[in-house]
Each structure stands twice: as structure tokens, then as C-alpha cells.
Subunit: 352 residues, 2 copies
């Protein structure tokens, strides 16, 4: 088995317990006086690091991006928005095996969660987009997803006075292009991190944040080798791995994975390791969405990736651990979208 | 022309100007000491009354109903929620001519706004549902909309521990039925009123809330006869009227209107008069959604309902008035939905 572990920010991982107050204090003073009064964040020495709160550099991008994220006018039909398949009421997913696109098209692959996606080494299951900005451009123009074009999306936005004003306010220029659109969406998505899971509280030193069963599950997660790929702040998302390492996986998805990007045959059926953050919310599992439950997913992963058959008790312990990974969900007011003007092209949900 | 005007709460309409402070004070003290200190709400003597803030009787129903409203698991596909077609980011509509339902079914009629729908004399364009609770049951089980059944919807909810606990907390009993589901959704929808439009501020005495053009439009709206049907707190929603009174309307919708409910041939093509509240946001217009703009809608209404051809200037004045009817939009945190359990039946978006 190829182990490609990335120890993110290992330098910050200092073994310590009972330090939750210090960690909290550090968060609260992060923008106050530097150096002398700063308390270094101290966490337990584990291969997983607590999620850090989002560092919002440009709130205007974020507010604009939030509207765009919820705006179905970025699709040909006027019916599908980013939030349709990456629903922020449902763990940043659609909880479907594969997504529904324009004209009820069955998508080829499971929609990954947008939560904590800024921590991924690349975007999409095959990593074909370098970052969230590049990713955001994809679904808008994909005929099986939002089925629009970048040109039509930009035309639509330019026709809406509320958007024109907001783009100008955010970017300081008159002209809207797809670059500003995807930059704003990415800026919003970067805020969608989920700190304060019970596991993170435990990492920060709160011994009461996890039960004995959950801790036993975490220890199994480490000792069995799950953590080899599911590590770092995202507990995944930082490497590509072959799906079906010890035994082959018979996917229902046609996706070939990383080889579609690298052209390298050795990368066939290699996919980005998904984050396990909020995994209780992001069912069904795997790139084809064929595992309905965590119990099934843990069983399949154990056998196919690790050559290990977990007992029912072991499986239940690992599942209990995984359920401690649900963090603070996105919390904001439902955005209000600026209305179309008389000049705004109307959606065409039923046009050929 | 048949004039069927309902003067809602005429007794409260006392001619007065410059009384905005009193009106505000009344709102702020409505739950304080009764009688002696109460200032009677005093508004200008007009056929339209300001929207009152929602009177929330049971916040637990509302919070539960909000989740249900946003939950696509109430549809067969797991993809369509109440908010899909009555989008609270978009004036409580989908801004489509007619809606998209299960399997991309083209709906037969335009989705009316959910905003202020509690003020309607009945629900749906043909008034076939007496109230919001009865209405909420319709789309869930409509094969061309959410395509589910009440039994399956209830099974789904019963399988989700988070919902079970919340229903018990709200209704004080173990068993969930479709009655509690629709009651909670209706309770949430009753909160979706939109007070404080500029026109309402003017009604309450603020002379600066409207421009001269907008006031000229309002005067035309009254003198031309629009107000005969678009009156009351909802500025519509309180009567059924024939579409195409002076000249016939050639609808693209197959809907026959009120006659489908009454069985009375005289009611053919009679529809509930839509509210004009937030009309700038609720395009396109008419039961078939064929009028894309307010300019077009005002022109058609003038000719077909009133036998009057508005000049461009008159039309523009009325449109300017209509744009003062946008009130405070729903303002709440995006709800977080309780996750499915292992026992929850999975959606079947592509099943026959």
C-alpha cells in the first residue's frame, strides 16, 4: 500500500492536554497585539489538526459570492444554483448518489461536500481544478449540470442593477467578467469551514468531549491505517489514492479518476481522498455514492483499502468516532437576490 | 365590469396624515399594557392597508416548519423542496413562467408567491385549498411536482431522530402524521409577511416615502379601477376575477381556474387575484407567466380588464408605484436539517 501522508503544519502540533482555554484565548486575540501576549495554539500530538475559523480577507467578496452561490439564474433553467447540489442545509451536499442536472440529467459522480473544501489539495474527485475559483467555473458551463455558458451568465449579471452595483463596490470596476464571478463564489466557499467538532474540542484538550467508545474508534482508525490517507486538518482531501487497493472496487460510476487529468494509466481509479469532516451529514459515500451508511462505508474501506475485516463492534466504534467530526455548520442569513430587470434574459428551462 | 371590492377592516381606516410615530408606537406596544395606553393604529384613508407584522403564536411550529419548507426529502427525488418553487431568496417564487417538477416536468401554471399568502382568501390560483395548511399537502403528493406520497413523507420523517424529537417538542406527542407536517409548514409560512414597504410607510403618514411619480401612479391605479380588485392588506388575494373581462385573454396555460372548484361554468378562467405586494420580485406575471415585465403586465391588465390603454407615461407611473410595494423580505438563518439515519429510505430521483 502506498502511503502518502501529508503532515500539515506539523510544527504546530505540540503534545498537550487540558489546554482548551489557551486555544480559545488564542482565537480571541488573533487580531490583537502580536508576539508578547500571544499564546501559541497547543493541541494534542495527533495526525489530525483542529479546523481553524475562516480568515475572511474581503467581506464584500464573501457577501457577493453568497448571493451568486444561491442564484439559480446562473443556470440555463433558472432552477439550479450551486446550493442545489452543495446544499448548505445538508452538509454541503445533495445527499444523492449522483446529482441531478439540467433537464433531470443523471450526473456521473457523487457531489462532494463544499464544506472545508478550501482545505483540499485540489478540487473535483479527480483534482482537475487547482482551486475553488477554477472549480466554480465548471458546473455553470457543464451541459449536464447548470447547462449555461460563462458569456450568458455574465450577460445575465450585467443586466441586473443590484449586481452591477455590488460587483463595482467589491471589485472597484464597471465590467463584470467570469473571473470576478468565480472569485466571489470561491471567497464565500472559503468561509464554509466547520470548526468546533467534538473531536476538535478533544484535540484541543477537552477530555470530556468524546466518549470512551468514540476514543476507541479513533484509536482503531489510527491503528488500522485509515489515518494514513484521512489525515490533516481536513481528515482527507490532501492526497489521491486508488479506490480498491487490496481488492478491486466495482464502481457504478463511469469516472476513471485521476488518470483523466494526468494521462497516466497508473492513476486509473485514483480519486481525491474525501474529507471525513461532517461525514455524518454527507451520505451517501464514495465517488459513486453507492454506500448509503457509514457502517457500509467503513466495512468496504476496511476490506478494499486495508485488507481488514472489522468486527461489528470495531465498525461501530469507528462509526461513533466519525460522528464526532460534525462541526459548526454554516450560519448566516438566507441571502436576498437582486431582482432581474426588464433587460435580463429569461431562463429557458424547457428549450432544446 | 363586475366590481367586487372587499374593504378589509374598513373600521380601522381613519383618515390621517403625519401619524407615522403613532403607528410605530402602536406596533412596539402591541404586547404591552392593554386598553388605556394603547394607541389605535391610524393610517391614511385608503383602500389599501399596511401589512401587519406576523403574530407568531407558536415559535416551535415555525422553527420546525422552516426546516420542512427547506427539506427536499419531502420529494421523491430528494431534490425538490417547497423553497425550490417558492424561493425565499427570490420573492417567494421561482421566477419561471411555470415551475419545474419531478423528472423536469413542466408545470401547468405559474407558482404564486408564498409571501403574504396568509392574507389570501384561499390558496392556489383556483382557490381549491381553504388555507395554507391544506395547500402544503398538495405539492408533496402531486406527481408533477414533488411526486411523493404523504405516507412516504411521514415514513421519512419518522426515521430521522432529529425530526422525531422536534415534532415531539412542538406537538407533545410521539406520532408524526401529515397533519403536523402541514400545520408546521403553514405556521412558518404565516410568518412570511413583508411589512415596511415604502408604500406602507407612506400609508402610515410618511410623506417622503414616495416620489411624486410614484404617487401619481398610485392615483392612476385608483382612478383607473385597478384597485377594484387589488385592494386590502394584500393588494389582491381577496377575490376571484375573470382573466380577460373586456377582451379575452389567450392563455398558454391549460388551467380553467375557479370552475374546476365550483363546477360552475360561469367561473371558467376566473382566478384568484394575485397580491401585488413585492410584485417587482415576483415576475413573470399572470397565471401562465406570460408577462415578463411589469410594463407588459400593466398594459395587458389595462386593456383586458379595464378596457383602458395606458399611455407610456401612465404605464411608467403605475410601474413606479408598484415598485414601492416591496417590503421587508424574510430574514432568518438558513436552517440546518437533521441528517437521515441508516433507516431513512433513500430518495429515488431516477426511479420510474
Amino acid at each position: 500500500m502506498r502511503i502518502k501522508m501529508i503532515w500539515l503544519l506539523t510544527g504546530l502540533l505540540v503534545g498537550a492536554a487540558g489546554c482548551s482555554e489557551q486555544a480559545t484565548e488564542n482565537q480571541n486575540t488573533e487580531s490583537a497585539e502580536p508576539a508578547a501576549n500571544m499564546v501559541e495554539a497547543v493541541y494534542r500530538d495527533e495526525p489530525i489538526k483542529p479546523i481553524q475559523p475562516a480568515n475572511v480577507e474581503n467581506p464584500k467578496y464573501v457577501e457577493l459570492g453568497k448571493k451568486l452561490y444561491f442564484d439559480p439564474r446562473l443556470s440555463k433553467s433558472g432552477f439550479i444554483s450551486c446550493n442545489s447540489c452543495h446544499n448548505l442545509s445538508m452538509g454541503g451536499t445533495d445527499n444523492l448518489k449522483t446529482s441531478i442536472g439540467h433537464n433531470w440529467t443523471k450526473g456521473p459522480i457523487n457531489s462532494p461536500t463544499v464544506l472545508n473544501s478550501s482545505l483540499n489539495l485540489a478540487q473535483f474527485w479527480d483534482g482537475r481544478a487547482a482551486d475553488l475559483k477554477e472549480q466554480a467555473a465548471g458546473p455553470i458551463a457543464n451541459p449536464g449540470e447548470m447547462a449555461f455558458t460563462h458569456a450568458l451568465a455574465v450577460d445575465m449579471l450585467r443586466s441586473i442593477p443590484g449586481y452591477v452595483a455590488e460587483f463595482k463596490e467589491a471589485f472597484g470596476k464597471e465590467e463584470i467578467t467570469i473571473d470576478e464571478v468565480t472569485l466571489a463564489i470561491a471567497a464565500f466557499e472559503e468561509t464554509l469551514v466547520t470548526p468546533n467538532s467534538r473531536f476538535d474540542l478533544w484535540l484541543k484538550g477537552d477530555d470530556n468531549a468524546m466518549t470512551a467508545t468514540e476514543l476507541a474508534g479513533y484509536n482503531l482508525f489510527k491503528s488500522s491505517g485509515c489515518v494514513a490517507c484521512h489525515s490533516g486538518e481536513g481528515i482527507g482531501g490532501n492526497s489521491f489514492q486508488k479506490m480498491g487497493l487490496v481488492e478491486p472496487y466495482h464502481a457504478t460510476s463511469p469516472a476513471e479518476g485521476r488518470s483523466a487529468v494526468t494521462g497516466n494509466d497508473a492513476d486509473r481509479f485514483s480519486f481525491k481522498v474525501p474529507t471525513l469532516r461532517n461525514v455524518e451529514l454527507t451520505y451517501p459515500y464514495f465517488h459513486d455514492g453507492e454506500a448509503d451508511t457509514l457502517t457500509e462505508a467503513v466495512d468496504v474501506m476496511g476490506r478494499l483499502q486495508l485488507g481488514k475485516k472489522f468486527t461489528d463492534e470495531e465498525n461501530a466504534q469507528i462509526v461513533a468516532f466519525l460522528k464526532t467530526l460534525t462541526g459548526d455548520q454554516p450560519s448566516f442569513q438566507l441571502p436576498q437576490l437582486p431582482p432581474s430587470s426588464d433587460k435580463t434574459p429569461r431562463p429557458e428551462p424547457f428549450a432544446e
